[in-house]
């Protein structure tokens, strides 16, 4: 793995609002991995949220304002990387749609071209094949992986996290049934249509439990909080973590939604 030098690409970390507020350890894990891939990381403070809550509620005007701010905040970086398929998809696929056929289209398209989801960036852009030994030497356990919808279907993230996970010697990846089916989160959907959302996450946690692993991993904190919250309510013992935490060996904090003793 190349050492960061003065010529290393400059990566702007798009933290995402959920990671910022709920699970900063995912952000620190992402930084560790991006640096290990030979890049310098900066974190613009002018970033907030990608705008999905507004965008998916039909509020185009506010979404555009947020998008403009995000694009401006990351003007001077080579890449924009987010530890979330959903937010990266928003920046990469939907910002250009928001500004299509407007004078700002060019700017939005150029920005979108620099955006990558974390796993995609590490494997496809930086060519990472294996996780640095020092990160995951001590890991021992079985995991199953949930393919979050936007990452999978908007960005084509499927093999990348699996490639890195299976490079960890002590890790056993056991696929669960229907790993590509939505967990029922869907942002405000989980609150507005809570009963349907619940039926969906119940199917998901049943599949997770049937895989009989120590951990359930995914690349999106929204889905993870949904699955973790349901697993906990059901009294199931499967721990829930963002994939970056395992890859970077950032396992000191308790799993998502777990008690901190």
């Amino acid at each position: 793995m190349p050492e960061p030098t003065n010529k290393s690409p400059r990566v702007g970390l798009f933290v995402t609002c959920l990671v910022d507020m709920f699970r900063p350890s995912v952000g620190m894990a992402a930084v560790k991995l991006i640096e290990a891939s030979g890049c310098d990381v900066v974190v613009p403070t002018a970033q907030t949220c990608c705008g999905q809550p507004a965008y998916n509620s039909g509020d185009r005007k506010d979404t555009k304002a947020i998008a403009r701010q995000t694009i401006a905040a990351f003007e001077d970086v080579d890449y924009v990387v987010a530890p979330s398929g959903s937010c990266a998809g928003m920046l990469k696929s939907h910002y250009p749609r928001l500004f299509a056929e407007t004078p700002e289209a060019e700017k939005a398209n150029a920005f979108a071209g620099r955006v990558h989801e974390l796993m995609q960036f590490l494997v496809d852009v930086r060519g990472m094949q294996i996780v640095p030994d020092a990160f995951a030497n001590d890991f021992k356990g079985s995991v199953t992986y949930h393919d979050s919808c936007s990452g999978l279907r908007e960005l084509g993230i499927k093999e990348q996290p699996r490639k890195l996970l299976t490079s960890i010697k002590g890790l056993q990846l056991k696929e669960m049934s229907d790993c590509e089916i939505c967990c029922g989160f869907g942002g405000t959907f989980s609150v507005k249509f809570s009963d349907i959302s619940n039926a969906m996450v119940e199917k998901k946690t049943a599949n997770i439990a049937a895989a009989e692993t120590d951990l359930i991993l995914a690349g999106d904190l929204g889905c993870l909080m949904n699955m973790a919250g349901k697993l906990r309510r059901q009294g199931r013992k499967v721990a829930c973590r963002h994939v970056a935490e395992v890859l970077a060996g950032e396992l000191e904090d308790p799993p998502i939604g777990a008690p901190n003793d």
Binding site: V19, F22, R60, D62, C149, M225
Partner: protein, 483 residues
């Protein structure tokens, strides 16, 4: 048809609690979904064919007026009649008039979602006609006084034992000890009942999967052959369909048929693919004496000129609903009007209005599985989002939702305030959760905590941690540089 889209949430709750419905729906993943996947894997050019289908439908919609007029000309030349209906009422009136002119008493019907859209059966029955559905699924629904819950498998919400009970109740003249377990036995019994209806029908009404502009033909695909008997045994055949079903040529229809059956049921081709062109010609062994086509608009020409045009590419295969986790959870009736699932969420607001159908485009996680299987590559999540935008502009969402959204968005546009808020919230929530690490109840998020715990934050924001790291790494470096 009665619209209950406003009750979507309570419809969904009842559906989730209905164990028979849940049992029936549980067959979808191993049934239609698995069958489509198998058919797709057997056809290497399937994805190319989807591109071809999309382009073909786009082209047709671009020149819809031309193809519709050509179709009408060809139908006339073949001796048939075309009736244009702007509204469901006009379509029903046209059909009723044809039936009256034919002195009809008994009408047989093949499966037609457009006839559901215009509420045809109620209208005809109110005028004293006997209407008999001849598709097995539709027949079952008719004796149960229900509507279809799926566009190609109308009775998919029922279990086989429910159907057996219905048949035993309804067909009480048949032997009590007869065997009615296998699907084939149910089909045979329905066939026995329906045969008499086919022979005595005065008018046969079918839908159309496609209309062919170059020949003036209509096509129906079925697996039971009921459509053939419906349209060829009665003296009058009426095709009720909508203006978006036309394709330019026979070859075009063939290409779409290759996608339709595979996407719908995983078949290479349906058991019956029936073409009908005008009434019986001299020398034909059978066929109707009169041939009518009723073409419904009902909002489609407005959609054509709007940002929703792509929804008109739909060929009604049902793949979107088969693959939709929301449809899989609640079934079709919860959606409250004719077209359920993702296609309903994208189409119904255009047909019955967004004020009426507003719930549907909102009831999606935008998981995108529908778009990933749609043979016509209709961007269903995008269309649903566009409906949400129209709703938002009209001010339809409740005031507190709009206020909360505005408040949050203003803060997101003010990073300093946003980071302060995040810092306060993560600390406060961490403190409130204590060692439990999660909340079992949370104000303003009771929809969430009703069913699951809410994981507590770690306590510091990422921006905090990053600033700490920057301070720790920059200090020694600056010291080192000091001369």
């Amino acid at each position: 048809m009665k619209v209950t889209v406003h009750d979507f949430k309570s419809n969904a709750r009842s559906a989730l609690a209905d164990t028979q419905l849940q049992e029936a729906l549980s067959g979808l993943p191993t049934g239609l979904v698995a069958q489509r996947a198998a058919a797709r894997s057997r056809l290497p050019e399937f994805e190319d064919l989807r591109d071809y289908g999309r382009d073909l439908r786009n082209h047709t919609l671009e020149h819809l007026d031309v193809y519709l007029e050509r179709y009408e000309d060809q139908v006339r030349q073949a001796g048939g009649h075309v009736h244009w209906a702007k509204t469901p009422a006009e379509a029903c009136d046209a059909i009723l008039k044809i039936c009256k002119d034919a002195d009809a008493r008994l009408v047989t019907k093949g499966k037609s979602m457009v006839s559901e859209e215009i509420g045809l059966n109620d209208k005809l029955e109110a005028e004293g006609l006997e209407v008999v559905e001849t598709d097995l699924g539709e027949y079952i629904l008719q004796i149960r006084h229900e509507t279809p819950s799926h566009i190609i498998a109308p009775a998919i919400h029922l279990t086989q034992s429910q159907v057996e009970q219905d048949f035993r109740r309804e067909h009480d003249h048949l032997a009590k000890d007869r065997k009615l377990v296998e699907p084939a036995e149910l089909v045979d019994e329905a066939r026995q009942i329906l045969r008499e209806k086919f022979v005595n029908a005065d008018v046969g009404i079918t839908g159309a999967n496609f209309l062919i502009a170059e020949t003036g033909s209509s096509i129906i695909v079925t697996n039971e052959g009921n459509g053939d008997l419906t349209q060829s045994l009665a003296k009058t055949h009426i095709v009720i369909t909508a203006i978006d079903k036309v394709v330019p040529t026979l070859d075009d229809a063939s290409a779409l048929l290759r996608l339709l059956a595979r996407s719908a049921t995983g078949q290479e081709f349906t058991s019956y693919t029936t073409f009908s062109t005008g009434p019986r010609r001299a020398g034909d062994p059978d066929g109707p004496e009169n041939y009518h086509v009723v073409l419904l608009d009902n909002g489609r020409s407005e959609l054509l000129g709007s940002e929703f045009r792509e929804v008109l590419r739909c060929i009604r295969c049902g793949a979107c609903m088969n693959h939709c986790p929301v449809y899989n959870a609640v079934g079709g009736h919860a959606y409250g009007w004719v077209y359920p699932g993702p296609i309903g969420a994208a189409l119904n607001p255009g047909l019955i209005g967004i004020d009426e159908a507003g719930n549907l485009p909102n009831a999606s996680t935008f998981c995108g599985r529908c778009e990933s299987v749609c043979p016509m590559r209709i961007p269903l999540p995008k269309l649903m989002r566009q409906w949400r935008e129209i709703e938002f502009e009209k001010g339809n969402p409740p005031l507190f939702v709009r206020m909360a959204l505005r408040g949050w968005a203003s803060m997101a546009n003010w990073p300093w305030a946003y980071h302060l808020f995040a810092r306060i919230m993560s600390r406060a929530m961490k403190l409130a959760a204590g060692r439990k690490g999660a909340f079992s109840w949370l104000p303003l998020a009771t929809g969430w905590t009703k069913h699951r715990d809410f994981p507590a934050p770690q306590g510091k924001t990422f921006q905090d941690l990053w600033a700490e790291r920057q301070r720790a790494t920059i200090k020694p470096a600056t010291q080192g540089e000091t001369p």
